[in-house]
Structure formats: C-alpha cells, structure tokens
C-alpha cells in the first residue's frame, strides 16, 4: 500500500513540474514568441478572449505568483485557453475531440507490440542459438532503427499509394457518420491498420530483445536449475518459473514506454493525416498556436502518468516482494 501511495505522490509531483514548466516557458523564453503570436492573432479575437490569453501568458500586470495560482487553478478546472489556429474553439474541446483516436492508435499498437514482442523474446531465449534467437533480433533491430515517421511514409507509399491495399489518410472513410455499425468499425480498422503496423514494427524489436535478455538472465538463476532438477516439464518451467519472473522488468518497462509510444503515435499520425492529437500538434506548431501546444503537452503528460500509475498497481499484484512494506 505504501508503495502505491508513494508512486501516486511521485506522479502528482511530475504533473506539477509539467504545469510549472508550461507556466514558465512563455514567460522566460528568449526571442519573445508570445508577442509574435499576439501580433498574428489579435485581429481575430474577441476582447475577452484576448484578455484570457494575456492572462494565460502573463502579459497582464498581475504579480507572478498570482498568475501562477490562477494558472494552476485553470488547469485543474480544464480551462486551457482558446485555440488560435482553430479559433474560437477552446483548447480543451479541441483536444477532447481528437484524443480518442490517438489513444486508439497508440493503445492498439502498444498491446500488439508488447504481447507479440515478449512472446518472441521468451521463445528466442528458451531456444538459444536457434533461428528465432539469431535471425530475428538483428532484423527487428534494423527495422526499429528507422525513424517512426519514415517507416510510416514507406508503408504509406508501398501499401497505400502503390499497391492501394489500404487507405492513406484519416480514421474512417470520408462521408461516413460515426455510428455503431459493422461497416463503420470495419472502416476504422482498415484505416487503423497501416499506422498501427508502423508503430508495431518499430517497437517490437525492443520488446523482443529486452525480454530475451531478461529471460537469459533469469534462466541462469538457481531456481530455474532447481525446477529442471525437479523434473518439471519444459513448458511449465519456461512460463511459470522463468517468464513469470522475467516479465517483471518488462512490466516496469511497459509503463516507461508509454512516453515513447506516444511520441511514435504523434509522428505516425502526421504522416497518415490520422486525426489524433499528434496531427493537431503539428498544425498547432505551424500555426504558432501556443495555447493548443501547451494543452496537448499537458494532456499527454497526464495520460502517461495515469497509465503509469495503473501499471504500478498491476505490478504490485505481480511481485509479492513489493507488497512487504
């Protein structure tokens, strides 16, 4: 229990750091990006919205600490300002409408990569020197060396443009209205396939290699030797004794990988024009839409922290040694 509480406190701290970072950046950055932004935006906005943005970025006259407190308060009540590139929609609404797609893309890719990658790793370690162990890792590492977005582009080109097997943009066919029907779900699936595939291909090597190395270290442990001496079946040893222990670092890594997966998902969305927050982020950067950029940053950070916390809870279930407080 204490473990969980400590982790929670840690995540809250990290979130606080992010908020503070967001607060301080526009105020202390060289080159005064904010004035630039205002010059661009001012003619498009209503007076009260300009005022809100001023407050958001500290261009009003209040003392800093007061600005800080109201900023923090705003964040926790979900007010992240008004988007400039999608004026006049509030940032929270813009993000809310798109984040589902990112979660779908990232979540699907992550689960597939983790499950398959770890299984491959277990098998590769169990049969040292076999095909799986010597051929796959270098190939997967090579594939994983490509930047996410490049593989996305290659996949897009090959399967989308040249072969025409898969659609090349958006989350579902144009003209369809979201509803709970098989055709709609099928449409989502075909649009999801390529982007998810690229993320899986890039990250699976890491999972396989990581699990393989951990398994190798685990199989050198004495309790594995004893399990063999006891005459247990190979399968039982591999899964219940070796993998069950080897997966503990994997679970931790799973939590830590959320940050990377999110990055990958963002870049992949840009290439596929997939309507998630990544695609939005690019538009925000190009449009100098600072409120939106900051809002996306905070939202993603919050999502990653929550995911990590859930993983911690799972970890406590898996490793009895942690439960001792």
């Amino acid at each position: 229990m204490r473990f969980i509480v400590r982790r929670l406190a840690f995540y809250l701290l990290a979130f606080w750091v992010s908020i503070t970072l967001n607060f301080l950046l526009p105020r202390f950055m060289p080159g005064d990006p904010v004035t630039r932004m205002f010059a661009q935006a001012a003619n498009k906005m209503q007076p009260h919205q300009i005022e809100q943005l001023r407050q958001l970025f500290g261009l009003d006259e209040r003392p800093i600490w007061q600005q800080y407190l109201s900023y923090v308060h705003n964040i926790f009540t979900g007010q992240m300002g008004v988007s400039i590139s999608r004026f006049p929609t509030p940032v929270a609404e813009v993000i809310g409408s798109q984040i589902g797609w990112t979660l779908l893309l990232g979540g699907t890719a992550l689960v597939i990569a983790v499950v398959i990658g770890n299984l491959l790793g277990i098998l590769a370690a169990w049969r040292r020197g076999g095909v799986l162990d010597s051929v796959f890792p270098p190939i997967l590492v090579f594939v994983g060396s490509f930047p996410y977005f490049w593989l996305a582009m290659a996949a897009l080109y090959l399967f989308g443009v040249v072969l025409g097997w898969f659609p090349i943009r958006h989350a579902f066919d144009a003209g369809m209205t979201p509803e709970l029907s098989w055709t709609f779900i099928a449409s989502i699936a075909t649009h999801l396939f390529l982007p998810a595939l690229t993320i899986v291909l890039v990250s699976i090597g890491g999972w396989m290699l990581g699990m393989r190395n951990t398994m190798i270290a685990t199989t050198a442990e004495d309790y594995i030797l004893m399990a063999e001496a006891k005459g247990l079946t190979n399968n039982r040893i591999m899964f219940r004794y070796a993998a069950r222990n080897a997966m503990l670092p994997s679970v931790t890594a799973f939590g830590m990988s959320f940050g990377f997966i999110v990055g990958g998902a963002l870049l992949t969305e840009v290439v596929f024009a997939y309507p998630g927050v990544g695609y939005q982020l690019l538009a925000a950067v190009q449009g100098l839409d600072y409120p939106l950029m900051q809002g996306i940053f905070l939202t993603i950070t919050a999502a990653v922290l929550v995911a990590n916390f859930l993983v911690d809870i799972v970890y406590v279930r898996l490793d009895p040694r942690v439960r001792v407080s």
Binding site: S134, F142, P147, L151, A154, G206, L209, N213, T252, G259
Partner: protein, 313 residues
C-alpha cells in the same frame, strides 16, 4: 524517436541492478577492444560508421557547392546524371543526402556526448554522495524520464528561437535522464564494493574517488550508454526537424525528409526523395546498435551464443 528502445528501458527497469554485469576486471579496456574487433557484429557496425564518417567529411569534395541550390528539373527519378534523382524543387538528392550527413552526424554525436556526460555526472554524484543528494537527483531524473519525450521536445523547441543550437539543447534536456538512471545503477553497485570503501576510509578526495576509482570500472557501460544516446540524438533530431521545429534552412537528413513530405513526394510517387535520408538514419542507428550489442556480449558472456548451440552434458 525510434530507437530509444524499450530494450534500454527494460534494462533500466530492473531495480537497482546494473544493466550489464561486468566482472570488474582491472584489464577492461584491452580485453574489450580486442573482443569488439573480433566480433562480427561490431566489425560490421564499425565499418558502416566509418563509411558514413568519411562521406560526411568528404561531402564538400564529393558534391561541391550548395546542395540546396536548384540545379535541375524537378522530380526526376534516379539517372546517370543524378544518381538518386532530384527533389520536387529540383535539387540533387545525392548531394543533399551527403551534406545532410554532416549535420545529422555532428548533432547526433554532440547530443550523445553531452547527454552521456550530464547523465554520468548526475549518476555518479548520486551514487557517491547518497542519501539526500541521491534522493533529490533521483527524483529529478525520474520526473524527466516520466514526462513524455516528444511533446516536451515540441514545447521546448517551439518556444525557443529556431536553429541548430536549439535542437541540440532541447535534445540534451530530454535525453540525459535515461543515461543518468542506468549509470547511477552501475555506479551504485561499484560504490558498494570494498575497494571504494577503502578509498573513502583512507581519506581520498571525493572527486578523485569518483573519477579514478568508480569511473574506470564503468567504462563499458558508459560506452554502451553513449552509443544509445547517439542513436537517440540522430533519431530525435530527425523527428524534430520532420515536424518543422528544426532549422529548415540547414541541410540534414531530417530536414530533407521534412521537405520531401511537404512537397508531397509520396503522392507524386517520388520515393527517391525520401528514401535515402531515412535509410541513412536507419543504417547509422543500426550500426551503432550492432556495436552496442557487441559491447554487451563481450562484457556479459552469458549473452553470447556458443558455437555448439544447446548441447547439454
């Protein structure tokens, strides 16, 4: 962003266990070097890196002039005149790729070195001083590890003035924490060894202990971390530039890809405009990973595959 792998994170995730278990020989460097050169993976990796290095250095000779100048008809497929074709604007792709190597590799190595250095300082100081300083530094490290990298990169790069300097700085800020964690782990395990306790007791100066006792025993893992950081540097740099947050006027692999994407190379079927730069990034990253793999195998004999396979006595 691609090759900061979960394999690194898995290794880091084992609580307080070193990622690589060296036998702490006092002859690490000689054995290591010989081991690496004899290893096929490492030889391949080193050869690739050398090739790229040479090309990067010789680029002004091999492709004289400014590669960004428009010199040819746009969107030409590879031909004898333009070995890799031309971009949608009419620039020679081969020249762009070769010149791109200079910036990409330079930034990659600088970021790699700097991130490793910062990580090393933080990690060793954390392990050596322990208690409050360790708690504090660990907390900072963990927070940085937790906050998702790309969004943080984007935020930082967006608020800083555009340019290569910004790219380097933000990459170091997002990249140091990974190495700090691994190096701290390793330093801790060395710190707990008796010869360090002996040094402390005989009154050796802390700086001297850190640099002459602890650090030399970490040589192989520092190298491993450095290679991983370089991979991160090259890949993340490309990612940033692809999003338009780098310096678009500089020629690098990432900006090549940015322009290729912007100019719709994919949809006009001009694959030659985006393939080379991406392949280069992958090859360099792969070569670095191979050398890293080899370093792991040389220092951790269990990871080696024996010639006979799985015979058991």
């Amino acid at each position: 962003m691609s090759v900061t792998n979960p394999s690194e994170t898995v290794a880091q995730a084992t609580p307080d266990a070193p990622a690589v278990v060296p036998a702490s020989d006092r002859r690490p460097r000689r054995g290591l070097l010989r081991g690496i050169l004899g290893n096929r993976k490492a030889a391949f990796g080193a050869a690739v890196l050398l090739l790229f290095g040479v090309v990067a250095l010789a680029a002004p000779l091999l492709a004289p002039g400014n590669p960004s100048l428009i010199t040819a008809i746009a969107s030409q497929p590879p031909s004898l005149e333009h070995l890799l074709g031309t971009t949608a604007k009419g620039q020679d792709v081969l020249a762009l790729t070769m010149h791109g190597a200079r910036t990409s590799l330079l930034v990659g190595f600088v970021v790699g070195a700097a991130a490793t250095l910062v990580g090393l300082l933080v990690g060793v100081a954390s392990a050596y001083f322990g208690r409050v300083i360790d708690d504090l530094l660990s907390l900072v490290t963990n927070v940085f590890l937790l906050i998702p990298g790309l969004p943080l990169l984007v935020i930082l790069a967006a608020f800083l003035p555009p340019g290569i300097g910004t790219v380097v700085v933000v990459l170091i800020i997002t990249g140091w924490a990974g190495s700090a964690r691994v190096l701290r782990s390793q330093a801790l395990s060395i710190r707990s060894k008796d010869f360090v306790a002996a040094a402390v007791v005989t009154g050796e100066h802390p700086l001297r202990i850190m640099f002459r006792e602890i650090l030399p025993n970490m040589a192989s893992i520092v190298m491993s971390t450095f290679l991983a950081c370089v991979i991160f540097g090259i890949g993340a740099q490309a990612g940033l530039e692809f999003l338009g947050l780098g310096d678009a006027s500089v020629v690098s692999w990432g900006t090549n890809l940015y322009w290729a994407s912007n100019d719709g190379a994919l949809f006009t079927g001009a694959w030659w405009a985006f393939a080379p730069s991406g392949l280069c990034i992958a090859l360099v990253a792969f070569a670095l990973a191979m050398v890293n793999y080899a370093v792991d195998e040389v220092t951790n004999p269990r990871l080696r595959t024996t010639k006979k396979g799985r015979t058991r006595a």
